[in-house]
Each structure stands twice: as C-alpha cells, then as structure tokens.
Symmetry: C2
Subunit: 213 residues, 2 copies
C-alpha cells in the first residue's frame, strides 16, 4: 500500500470513539510510540508549554470520569491522557528553553541571544490570559498529532473537551505545578457495539471548507 | 516496516523546515491527500469552525510574505496553506451543522434536538472572544493532523505563527467572510542547504514532559 493510500485509510478509520472495549489494551510498544508522538509534537518556538499526564490509576480515572459528564471513555479506554498547558510563561521559562536548546545543539548560550530577544518580544506582547490561551493552542497541535499517530497504528481515540478543567486541575494537583488542563484524550480500541464507528463521517463539502486561491 | 517503526520514523523526520527547495513540488495526488487531512480533521462537536486557504497565486504569496517577517517559506514552499477560524458562531451556525449532520446521517433533524441543546449550552457559555479562541484551538488540531500526515508522506512542513493575522485577513478578504487567520503552514520539500534538517531535535527530557500516574 502506498503511503498516500495509507494516509487516506487512516483518515477514514479515525472517528471520535464513543465506546471503547475495556478488554482490548494498548501494548507497551504502542504506548511508548504514542507518548513519543506527544513528546515530539511541534510547538511554537519549540517551547513545549505543556505536560502530558498518562492516567493509569483506576481510582484517578473514576474521579476524572465524575468530572467529565460521566463519559465512559475515561474509564473504559486502555489509555487516558490529560493534556495540560503551562501557565507560568516568563523570562525564566524562556531561559530554561534557551539553556536546553544550547545543551542539545552544543551551542554556546550567547549565540542564542538574538533568538531569545525575538521570543521575549512575543512573550511580552501577551497578557497572562493570552499566554495561557497560546499555550493551550500548542497543546491542540499535540492532540492532533496524537490522534493522527494513533490512527496510523490502528488505534482509536476520543478527544474530550466536555470535562471540568478546574476539577481536573484539582484532582491532579496541577495548579501548584504551574499547569492547567487543556483537553483530554481517551485511547484504545472501539467496542463492537459502538454504532458511531459505522455512521457516515459528517463533514461540510470539501469545496466549502478548502478554497484554492 | 511495522506501523510503529513507521510512526517513529515520521516523528523523527519532521522538523520545522526553514528552507524549502522551490523546485521540488507536491504532486496533485499528495496535495489532494493533504487537503483531505485538513478537511477530515477532528473538531469539537464536529462543528468545523474553520476554513483552509490553499494559496497558489504567486502574487498573493508575495503579499503574504511581506506580512510574515519576510520568511522565505511563504514563497519557496510548494504549498502554502492559511488556516482560518470562523468568527460567527451563533445559533444559525449551529443549525447549519445540525442540518448537515441530519443530511449525511439520514436522520430527522428532530432526533438531533437534544444534541443541539448541549451544543448551544456550550456556545452560550462563551463570550465572543472566547468563541474565536475556541475555534482557533480546533484549527490547531487540523494543523497537527496536517503536519503529521505530511510527514507520513515524506513531505516537509513549517508552521508559521510569526505572521500578521490582521494583514492576512485584509489580503485574503477574510473579515467579510466571517473568518480570521489563526496560523499558516508551508508544505514542500526541504532544501539540501537547510542546516536545521540535521540539527538534533531539541526537546526537554520525556520524563519531564510525560508523567504516568
């Protein structure tokens, strides 16, 4: 199968899975690849203003489910990831990134001074609310990469926005750590009973959504 | 090659391409698959609060480049897509989606009344600014899906946030159409001279970014 055929197949395979089969688990190798997909996601300036919580503890899953309109995916899916955005974007955080960049690339920090200046200009242009919104947008890139990557592996996902971020933050103790819940994603295998799997994919016509100019 | 190996390979292949080779073009079949990846992206409630502009007109590319800090990717990449968020999220827009859903799924609109109510509750919980921010987050899912999909095809991308959304909106006449620029993405093939292609991928250690609890 060509990669184009494979891409088209995975695009049609993916749907927001409503019912997961709790008996079908993600293997350790798959889990590792999906967490890599999150870890290696692109982000603005490479800042990685995020943290990903892979929730395995069943009692935590139950608590989160209660704050997710009782959606079964939270407890039934083999994996459940909370994607959090970093809330403390300041010069110290930028310096932390610059130091990491210098370390990985083996470059002296001084050579990154111009880059830091551009980055700080961007940071200073936003108020605190805008900074968090910006960080959350980055998290949604990671969410996109995660779902597409899972589909490539024949793994189902369901993004969850219908959750209480405040309650999630409380349960996971995120506030003190400088993070806030942006979105969550259940990952596993569809249950044979999920009628959504066979419902036609509903999109507006492509001519209305994509315009070539 | 297993799909897991393929995923790991594409994750390491992808990087924010700084220099595109203007002579290397995306084929019609690849273009179509990538536009499909945008069109079929997941979005909250399936609302698709977005529009994707595939910019082919060289003079438009030049105008956009001038509003993008002169970044060469805007004109050098084989494809250049502007990802816009919809700005008019109201009951009429929700009704449009409900009607489309009923049409595609062959269900009577009345059966979707409960779904509409949930959706409207969500819409009413946001002010106008929050609605646009919400739409932009959806656009970032599409951006993530686009970049991962391209990497699967061995195609390079560079997301561009360093652009003037206001100027982009003006150039593309988006305001009157009810859209606003969220982000852009250059798509093509890396130039052999792009030193960023061989720079080590810089990420914080995975243990700091992913926590299993």
């Amino acid at each position: 199968m060509s990669n184009i055929d494979q891409l088209n197949e995975l695009l049609s395979f993916r749907y927001a899975t409503k019912e997961f089969d709790p008996t079908k688990v993600i293997t350790a190798e798959e889990k590792s690849a999906l967490l890599s997909a999150l870890h290696l996601s692109p982000s603005s300036f490479g800042l990685q203003l995020w943290k990903f919580y892979n929730i395995e503890d069943p009692s935590l899953r139950e608590k989160l489910k209660a704050e997710s309109w009782g959606q079964g995916q939270v407890t039934d899916a083999s994996m459940f990831v909370v994607l959090a955005a970093e809330t403390n974007l300041d010069e110290a955080r930028v310096d932390k990134w610059i130091a990491r960049l210098a370390e990985v690339q083996g470059a002296p920090i001084e050579k990154l001074a111009g880059y830091k200046e551009v980055l700080m200009g961007f940071v200073y242009s936003m108020n605190e609310t805008q900074k968090v919104e910006w960080a959350k947008k980055q998290v949604y890139i990671a969410l996109g990469q995660l779902m597409t990557s899972a589909a490539l592996l024949g793994i189902d996902t369901c993004p969850l926005e219908g959750i209480s971020p405040i309650a999630y933050d409380e349960i996971l103790g995120l506030k003190d750590k400088g993070y806030t819940t942006a979105v969550a994603c259940a990952i596993g295998h569809r249950n044979a009973t999920d009628r959504h799997a066979t419902t036609p994919k509903a999109r507006f016509p492509i001519e209305e959504m994509v315009e070539t100019v």
